[in-house]
């Protein structure tokens, strides 16, 4: 899949240009008064090297004897995309509905629908994981995870453990 290789090289080039544009906010040249380069120099010139290297990779892929390094089993596209999508949905849900709603939902989907496991395994992991996370992070480490609109439900628990 030479196309995938080219898209990735192109994306890196686009990112390099984007980085360079942002780096221009600070001086990128020699800072005469203090000696040494300005604050933007490091990101700017390194991005330029990145841009040139990625351009080299892109050009190389047009040579007649170019071989693709990107190989993909197209039957696996669906699982990869669905896991990525579930991850995005879960992360988006955390600030709204809270980690203790989003993560069990994620586990439920992953184990039951994606993994096709039995209910015993699915439900025990779906229940035990948030309990472990609560005691590890909230009770022991005092790191509060986002709860969203489910926050009031946790007040009795807070009263018990803090």
């Amino acid at each position: 899949m030479l196309t995938a290789d080219r898209i990735i090289a192109g994306a890196i080039m686009a990112f390099s240009v984007y980085f360079m544009w942002h780096a221009l906010v600070l001086p990128i040249g020699w800072n005469g008064s203090t000696g040494g380069p300005g604050g933007g120099a490091f990101p700017f010139w390194l991005s330029l090297v990145m841009l040139l290297s990625a351009a080299g990779i892109l050009l190389r892929s047009f040579k007649p004897n170019a071989r693709a390094s990107f190989r993909f089993d197209s039957t696996m596209l669906r699982p990869i995309l669905s896991v990525t999508a579930s991850l995005v949905v879960t992360i988006a849900l955390i600030p709204l509905a809270g980690a203790y709603v989003a993560l069990p939902l994620f586990l439920l989907w992953y184990l039951k629908v994606f993994g096709r496991h039995g209910w015993t395994l699915t439900l025990s992991l779906t229940v035990m994981t948030p309990v472990f996370i609560f005691f590890f992070f909230e009770v022991t480490l005092r790191i509060l995870l986002p709860k969203g609109f489910t926050e009031p439900l946790f007040f009795p628990l807070y009263a018990m453990f803090f």
Partner: protein, 505 residues
């Protein structure tokens, strides 16, 4: 003799009940993580790092080092029982470990791997103890110019010795360095690369976010794609008779094991090399110097012993430059370095002077970790056989949950969790297109040091660029760096010349 006194003090620290417990816990966790196909020491350390807030900083580093050690031992387990290397570092172990398992000698292969790991680990820790203090003394003379030259040299080893595509390696080094500049400018304090004033970027991009993304989420995606069908677990039983036979067989392999240990240690010190090439080299040497090289690849116990000694020795070797110079020798030690900085323990020669208790406690804990790992490894073999039957979907679900929660915990910003997901997908795609990930992680960790030392030198020398070359040590480092950089060019030209000559033959 001062060294022995310091080491004895160190043992007083590492043998305290809490640290001993931490070592046992870390080694056991590491063994299981390493045994899981796909997950290696770097994944283990990346995923577990946020959980180590639960113990004090110095113990947290001991815990992570123990996980690192345990994972190096554990890698052999899935190489033997599944025929799939538990991590890239255990690839060479499959060559003879798998045939041994198929001949019904899985138990013997696992014992051989554990004993070889112990020998490699112990010899290399002794080397580590001997070299650490003198190297730190030399490094005390380093100023910013030497620091910059040393970091540059570390990066050029990837270009010259890494074996990956040169252009792709350069892209990844630059990407890591550019990502490390996000946040506030080190010298002027002005914000830069904050991408349209996104507040989350003001504090920069944490190495942990990149590591969890690339080695946690990215690894899971990679595992999903490559593990369509569940592999077959070969049963392994351990009896005392087999243990005795294993120890007897290993006793004949001292030459192979000591050679593998010393070589692994020195190869491991190079940032670009590390445990995987070290184990492959050790395997190759053992085969070439063997009396019957044809038996290799068909279940020769020596073929298990050689790579396993070397990869454990290399993991110790990569700790040496990390602790004494502040330059990690591998991605895993880069994460350890990041963790130490996060806890206010800045690695480098000053650490030996300011925190001798911690340094020698850590070094002595490597001895206890080795002893614990070999015992736990052999004792838990039946448990590994059981754990390897765990479906990938369960493992992946757990890892993803840990990535999300563990990514949120240190900074408590959802911004970082989103970055982890982004780095995960990007890392997965880059890995698929053969971009090496190790230089990316190393560059992000070392980027601030590189830029700071570069600009400090120039400010101190009023902008005189020649300052880097005029100082003898930094000049020497730069010369080596230049050599590494032109190495692929020379190789390329010679290959080109060879091609032109070829038709004439």
């Amino acid at each position: 003799m001062e060294m022995f006194a310091l080491l004895a003090d160190g043992f007083a620290t590492s043998l305290s009940p809490i640290n001993l417990m931490i070592v046992i816990l870390g080694v056991t966790a590491g063994l299981f993580i390493g045994a899981m196909p796909g997950l290696g020491s770097v994944n283990g350390v990346a995923i577990v790092l946020p959980l180590t807030f639960i113990v004090p900083p110095s113990s947290a580093i001991i815990l992570l080092a123990a996980i690192y050690y345990g994972a190096m031992y554990g890698g052999a387990v899935s190489s033997v029982l599944l025929g799939i290397p538990g991590a890239s570092t255990a690839v060479a172990t499959t060559f003879d470990g798998r045939p041994m398992a198929q001949q019904g000698k899985a138990g013997l292969a696992l014992i051989a791997a554990a004993v070889a790991s112990f020998v490699g680990g112990t010899i290399s820790v002794v080397l580590f103890t001997l070299f650490a203090a003198p190297l730190a003394d030399v490094a005390l003379a380093f100023g910013p110019a030497e620091e910059f030259a040393l970091v540059l040299m570390a990066f050029t080893t990837f270009v010259g010795l890494g074996g990956d595509d040169v252009l792709k390696t350069i892209v990844m080094i630059c990407l890591g360095l550019v990502l490390s500049t996000v946040g506030l400018d080190l010298i002027s304090g002005q914000p830069r690369l904050i991408f349209g004033d996104m507040p989350g970027f003001y504090s920069g991009i944490s190495f942990l976010v990149l590591a969890i993304g690339v080695y946690g989420v990215g690894e899971v995606l990679y595992t999903i794609e490559t593990s369509k069908t569940a592999p077959q677990v070969t049963p392994a039983k351990i009896t005392f008779a087999e243990l005795g036979a294993g120890l007897k067989a290993m006793n004949k392999l001292w030459r192979t094991m000591s050679l593998g240990s010393v070589m692994g240690f020195f190869v491991g010190m190079l940032p670009a090399a590390g445990a995987t090439p070290a184990s492959l080299m050790a395997y190759g040497i053992a085969r070439q110097t063997s009396k019957n090289p044809d038996s290799f690849g068909k279940g020769n116990i020596e073929g298990v012993a050689a790579p396993e000694t070397a990869n454990n020795a290399a993991s110790t070797g990569s700790l040496l430059p990390m602790l004494t110079l502040g330059i990690p020798g591998s991605p895993t030690t880069a994460l350890l370095l990041g963790g130490m900085v996060m806890w206010g323990l800045v690695p480098g020669p000053m650490l030996f002077i300011e925190q001798p208790d911690f340094v020698w406690g850590l070094i002595s804990s490597l001895y206890t970790a080795n002893a614990a790992a070999v015992l736990i490894n052999i004792a838990l073999i039946p448990l590994f056989v059981w754990a390897l039957r765990m479906p990938f979907t369960v493992l992946c679900a757990m890892v993803l949950v840990l990535c999300i929660v563990g990514g949120y915990a240190p900074s408590q910003k959802m911004h970082d969790v989103w970055l982890i997901a982004g780095f995960g997908v990007a890392g997965y795609l880059l890995r698929k297109a053969d971009y090496p990930l190790a230089p990316l992680v190393l560059a992000l960790v070392l980027g601030p040091l590189m830029e700071k030392s570069f600009r400090q030198t120039l400010i101190a020398e009023q902008g005189n660029v020649l300052a880097f070359v005029e100082r003898p040590l930094s000049g020497a480092f730069l010369a080596i760096a230049a050599l590494f950089f032109v190495l692929p060019l020379i190789k390329y030209l010679r290959k080109g010349a060879g091609r032109r000559i070829a038709p004439a033959e």
